[in-house]
Amino acid sequence: MPPTLEQPGISHAASDPMRPEPYFVASVSRETHDTFTLSVEPANGVPAAGFAPGQFSMLYVFGVGELPISISGDPEQAGRLTYTVRSVGPATQALVSRVTGDWLGVRGPFGAAWPLEAVRGKDVLIIAGGIGLAPLRPAIYHILRHRDDYVRLIVLYGARSPGDLLYKKELAAWGRSPDTQVLTTVDYGGVNWRGRVGVVTTLFRHLRMHPDKTVAFICGPEIMMRYVITELEENRGVLANDIYLSMERNMKCAVGFCGHCQYGPYFICKDGPVFCYQKLRGLLGKHEL
């Protein structure tokens, strides 16, 4: 039986962006050896906050801390928010250790989304590395639900090893959808791996692209995104204006008050995390910016 929650009625509550709202963990499932997907529902019975693909929440674990985590679920599934979390430190470990019925504090959603409205009528090329597929999954859900609004959907996904690939069943199902191509690769295959081996940019050779009709959404380690952008711009002729990427920096507040996530003139939390590459040209790859 889930615990009961009380929210004292305080008039400032609605206007305080720093105050978490209580949510229950509705389900937890293991994706890989270190990565879990959690779904949460509001504790007070009101519908979960809506979100746009690419946005993130701040997830708070009682007494442990708060983390910015991208929303990885279906934007049209009302009443529930889903996150895919890789355990890399004490706070993420605490987060993935939650079980059904536990509660979390949730703030948000925050940040800029993938421009799904603006890119209607185009081929959408989604390129992800590792956990970077998580913030792109809501965009894939959206495109598949609104299939006629877009032409081709191409997903290029790279992970370190076969055991690090997220959403394996979904990747296979997406690949069977009409006008959809899903290509995966790993940095190191095992003896039983019969798929592709190599960094994600090696997948480009399998693609036929229409650069003037293609928009790219990228999320992964910065070094990977830089190589992908070089491939798109220099070898494929995709314009900087048609390339979008999701950035990561230290974040404490998510609303532009704490200063941690600054990236040149931008706050990743409110100007991003999704940026058009045109805006980041000249910043990306600058050491210690």
Binding site: I10, P20, N250, C258
Partner: protein
């Protein structure tokens, strides 16, 4: 200054400052003002006239600060101390959320239904500018910080115009001083000569005018007003300047300038500059929990971009070198701040220069990045970057 200006000025005596403090207290304000503490002029809650640093001044230079006696009884005869009013509006530590777990039930409480009413006595023009800068940070964007907003909305400000500039001051070149024209309820100019020790007062708001009326301040004579303006003009002669012409692009375009390596050989990454800066706003979050596990709190504390943990993400910190951290601080302060908030983050108060233990001077660093050696290109008249918005 003509007679029309003079007509809305009034005069209060030293005893009138005591009455002002008492009046503000009667109106429910906690009065914060300058006071001598720990060998510096600090901003503290004060109770009475005698708490003010009468007859004290400060001696400042890069990496150097001393208080010393004046040969008069000036109440505001110093430049600026290490602290600013930031500590009242954006407290160094503040509990944002409190959570209680009682068996199966959970309460999320928070901490800001009641805010203190502060009256600030002795706010310098550069500090008014700094408050205006933080207003933009915490109130001017998509999100409003309820903690700042709740304090700021109730504050009563008594400014004191500057009649002397210290060697670290460069407000004149930043367009923020030495004369305040807005942002205060009451502004005072302290006049001390062989005949008088008094204050020319002007009201900046209706609330300020009411307070002056209640103090029975008498109208100031044109001669006295003239004297006040002249003494403020005296403070606009400053040896230190910052050339702000094109400064945003200057810093953006000089990410790889060798001066960053040079300054990194001196910078200790101690974060003093960010702690004394009246506009630096960065914070971190700290989670505390009781050993019983029933009670947890989230605290916001001032943080500094000079710490290595500031830029930590999984895999390591982004800015590991002190070079990159100094560059981030100065580029943010003088360049990206303009993009983010429509104003420079520097108001020319000089605190970062005085309180830097190795005496790094932001004005000289700008000069060096412009490519000028010592005494090179004359300093041009800067754009007034505080009016960009």
């Amino acid at each position: 200054m003509g007679p029309t200006v003079a007509s809305n000025r009034s005069v209060i005596e030293v005893e009138g400052i005591a009455q002002l403090i008492a009046l503000l207290q009667r109106r429910g304000y906690q009065v914060a003002g300058p006071t001598l503490r720990d060998g510096a002029i600090a901003c503290e809650i004060i109770n009475k006239l005698e708490d003010l640093p009468a007859g004290w001044t400060d001696e400042q230079a890069p990496g150097h600060y001393r208080v010393k006696k004046r040969n008069d009884g000036a109440l505001f005869g110093y430049s600026v101390g290490p602290q600013s009013w930031k500590k009242f509006l954006h407290p160094p530590e503040l509990q944002l959320v409190e959570l209680r777990r009682d068996g199966a039930s959970l309460k999320i409480l928070h901490n800001h239904s009641v805010f203190p009413h502060f009256a600030f006595l002795g706010v310098r023009p550069c500090e008014l500018a700094a408050i205006a800068v933080q207003d933009r940070v915490f109130q001017g964007g998509r999100f409003t910080d309820p903690h700042y907003d709740g304090r700021r909305g109730q504050v009563f400000i008594v400014a004191v115009q500057c009649t002397q500039a210290g060697p670290s001051c460069f407000c004149a070149s930043m367009g923020t001083g030495p004369r305040a024209r807005e942002g205060f309820d009451v502004a005072l100019t302290e006049i001390i000569d062989s005949d008088h020790h008094l204050f020319v007062a002007e009201a900046g708001t209706k609330a300020g005018a009411e307070v002056l009326k209640e103090l029975h301040a008498v109208p100031a004579t044109p001669v006295l007003c003239q004297q006040a303006e002249e003494s403020i003009r005296h403070a606009s002669v400053q040896t230190r300047q910052m050339d702000t012409a094109g400064i945003r692009d200057l810093l953006y375009e000089n990410f790889d300038h060798p001066e960053w390596d040079n300054v990194a050989t001196r910078c200790l990454s101690c974060a003093n500059c960010t702690m004394v800066c009246p506009t630096c706003f960065c914070t971190t979050m700290e989670d505390v929990s009781e050993v019983t596990g029933e009670h947890a709190g989230r605290w916001r504390r001032w943080d500094s971009c000079f710490t290595q943990s500031f830029s930590y993400i999984h895999g390591g910190s982004v800015r590991t070198s002190s070079k990159s951290r100094f560059r981030q601080w100065m580029t943010h302060k003088l360049a990206s701040w303009i993009d983010q908030f429509g104003t420079s983050g520097c108001v020319g108060c000089g605190r970062c220069i005085t309180w830097c233990p190795v005496g790094i001077e932001i004005t000289e660093e700008v000069h060096a990045i412009r490519g000028g050696g010592v005494n090179a290109a004359p300093i041009s008249k800067g754009d007034n970057i505080h009016e960009l918005a």
